[in-house]
Amino acid sequence: MPRLSLAALRETITRIEAAGISLHEQAKRVELGHAGADAALGGGLLPGRLHEIYADERDSVSGSAFAAMLALRVSRPGSVVLWVRQGFTAQQCGELSAQGLFDLGIDPDRMLLVKTRNVAEALRAASDSLTCKALGAIMLEVWRQPKSLDLAASRKLTLRAGKSGVTVFLIRVAAAEAMPSAAETRWFVRVQPTPDFVGDWGNPLFEATLARNRHGQTGVWAMEWSSDARVFREVPQNPRARISFAAAGPDPAKPEAPRRSAAG
């Protein structure tokens, strides 16, 4: 009898997954701005789900930034974003900088920061806060490969995210390997070197691998973040593309050196 019910359960799950997602949910997808990624995502990122962003220890800042940018895209304008970090991460990778966020086009005043002593506390903080529908998104930054972050934990996060409609971004820094999880999407993020033909100090560039996508395709893209438009873009492939892009906005002329800010 138990075997039968398990089989029935499996069947139900397959049926639900085959059916994909409802039209209502489909309409909620949020475009990232990068044509390739948006196409693979079937129109954009689904809010109210769990999304995982993996980054190497050396690329931890790219992971944080990429997740923060996704969160900015997905969350309602002006809503509060809860960012849960372990105190240890701040020592290892550096503290989040308000001005750094601001320079990426993200309002630091929207950030509510939680610094926990360990992973268990971080998970608990994120999980408990998911009952608060007023939040725009929850960032949960986890270091390495804690045992407590298993399939059950990610299912719980997914379930609660679905109930409240708050999107969860799980940033996995220096994780040895991807763990099985209930996440909607899984990204591997690395820094993308600035192309040689670009003369000046440019926008943040990422090499983003969408390794898992529950309702769509996967892919690898070079993505550029525009701090002004607050969208992702394709990285220009040749100097001409760069020029046409630059012409769209004011010329990012080199600042006269040395820039001087004196306090006093």
């Binding site: 800042v61 001005q99 920061l113 926990t116 820039r259 006093g264």
Partner: protein, 503 residues
């Protein structure tokens, strides 16, 4: 064969000589007393067990006993070095009358093998005098004069010049002293002495100065059988919270600082404080916050053999007003405020923060993490990046900045072409800068001006590094008069630091 018991004396160095500060009963029978030099004591009784005084330990013990005494009244004062004063006005009936209270207090202290003398009287000085001279006396208001009359003057004052003067004048008991006229005493021993005497005689009672702040509102529950399970404790807190809510409601107040006190049967007392961002009254919320707080205590409340008294007090309160703004505040704002309270109760207010912008150019001081409970003022973040430009400040900032080694620059005052950071070598292909940032002399006079560079290595990783101090030639121009060899040293070995990482 166990060694014969020796008279025990405690000694301390007072005015450069070892003096007895305390003695046991055996030592007293041998004619020793506090204040005697150790050399004299040894002359009288050669075989002594001498222990050095430990003031800190004495203080800790008296504090612990005082903590335990909090169960009788919130008004407990230390009367150092060995005394405690309790204001039991209006409390005694809760413990079955003054005699029962005194008995239960002394019984407990004696159970810990601490000898104690106690008394109850109309003024604190009278009670203290009685406790020093006798034990277990309860004097009704107005009868203090007779009660203290037969006591020696040492019960009133100890180790004091006045005591010797009184003895030389032939006044051995308090009664004899009191028989002299007040003006006579004031002329001879000062106004403070005659005031002390008046209080000992039950006049001019002064309030005691309690060691802990007096709570505005208190709810407590006593248990005949000690309770120990977390479930019962939480339920107790919940019911105390609703009592407190009623008390607060009567006065239209809300609590800003709460304290739960757990009195263990063995005398240990644990206080758990809880600060709130806004005046709080709702019992369900108070109970919920305490549930959060108690669950994550690094050092959990250990019930031992159980608690026999749990108390919830509001230490600080504020009027709880429903402003028009509160009604207008969006549902979202209310929810976020509740979330902040919940998380703060659980993890501690200092761990739930928001960015606070500070008006300074020094990068590490430009923003602070401010407890979110304190609310948020309008922040002004400077627009450093022009439109179309890339970020000028990194997303991750190292605190403190980390030294980078093996820096090599293509030209002397330029950015490093390669460096080693955290044991990894980086070859730089792209650099922007310098951005010169002068330190604030009022913060740190020693801090040097920094030249910041934005660097990108072969792999595309972007760093924010700075050279600590100006490059030699510039430095000479700016600080002509300063010692030149110092600059030479700096120029030879400019120190570079990693301050942040760009996305």
């Amino acid at each position: 064969m166990p060694p014969a018991e020796l008279p025990l004396v405690v000694v301390a160095k007072i005015s450069n000589a070892l003096q007895l500060t305390a003695t046991d009963a055996l030592a007293v029978r041998n004619g020793l007393h506090a204040g005697l030099p150790l050399a004299d004591a040894r002359a009288r009784v050669p075989a002594l067990d001498v222990v050095e005084a430990d003031e800190a330990a004495d203080r800790a013990l008296i504090e612990a006993i005082a903590d335990w005494c909090d169960r009788f009244t919130p008004l407990v004062a230390l009367d150092l070095p060995y005394g405690l004063l309790l204001d039991v006005t209006g409390c005694a009936h809760l413990f079955g009358g003054e005699a029962a209270l005194l008995q239960s207090l002394c019984g407990f202290v004696r159970k810990q093998e601490i000898s104690v003398q106690a008394a109850i009287a109309g003024t604190s000085v009278a009670a203290r005098t009685l406790a020093r001279g006798t034990d277990g006396v309860i004097v009704q208001n107005g009868n203090e004069r007779e009660a203290v009359a037969s006591l020696p003057v040492t019960a009133l004052l100890q180790n004091d010049k006045i005591v010797y003067a009184l003895k030389r004048a032939g006044l051995k008991t308090i009664g004899e002293v009191a028989s002299r006229s007040s003006s006579e005493l004031t002329a001879r021993f000062g106004a403070s002495f005659s005031f002390l005497l008046q209080q000992a005689l039950g006049e001019n009672g002064q309030p005691i100065v309690p060691r802990r702040p007096l709570p505005d509102y208190v709810a407590e529950r006593r248990f005949a059988e000690p309770v120990a399970t977390a479930e019962v404790i939480l339920r107790t807190i919940a019911s105390l919270a609703s009592t407190l809510e009623n008390l607060l409601e009567e006065r239209d107040q809300g609590a800003r600082r709460l304290e739960a006190s757990f009195f263990r049967t063995d005398g240990a007392v644990r206080h758990i404080a809880l600060d709130t961002g806004k005046p709080l009254r709702d019992a369900t919320q108070i109970a919920a916050y305490y549930a959060e707080r108690l669950e994550v205590l690094a050092d959990p409340v250990d019930p031992g053999f159980g608690f026999d008294l749990v108390r919830l007090s509001a230490l600080a309160t504020e009027p709880l007003e429903y402003k028009a703004a509160d009604l207008e505040a969006s549902q979202d704002e209310t929810e976020i405020a509740a979330l902040i309270e919940r998380l703060s109760a659980r993890f501690g207010p200092e761990r739930i923060t928001r960015f606070l912008s500070l008006d300074t150019h020094v990068p590490e001081h430009a923003a602070a993490f401010c407890p979110a409970q304190r609310g948020q003022g309008p922040s002004a973040w400077p627009q450093m990046r022009l439109e179309g430009e890339a970020p000028r400040r990194p997303l991750h900032m190292l605190s403190p900045p980390e030294r980078i080694d093996n820096t090599m620059a293509e030209f002397p005052d330029g950015p490093p072409a390669r460096f080693v950071w955290r044991r990894a070598a980086h070859r730089i292909v792209r650099a922007e800068g310098p951005e010169r940032i002068a330190m604030e002399w009022w913060r740190d006079a020693e801090a040097k001006t920094r030249d910041y560079f934005q660097l990108e290595d072969e792999g595309g990783r972007r760093f924010w590094v700075y050279r600590d101090g100006l490059y030699d030639r510039e430095a000479d121009k700016q600080h002509d008069r300063e010692a030149e060899n110092q600059h030479d040293r700096e120029a030879e070995n400019p120190r570079w630091f990693m301050h942040g990482l760009f996305a």
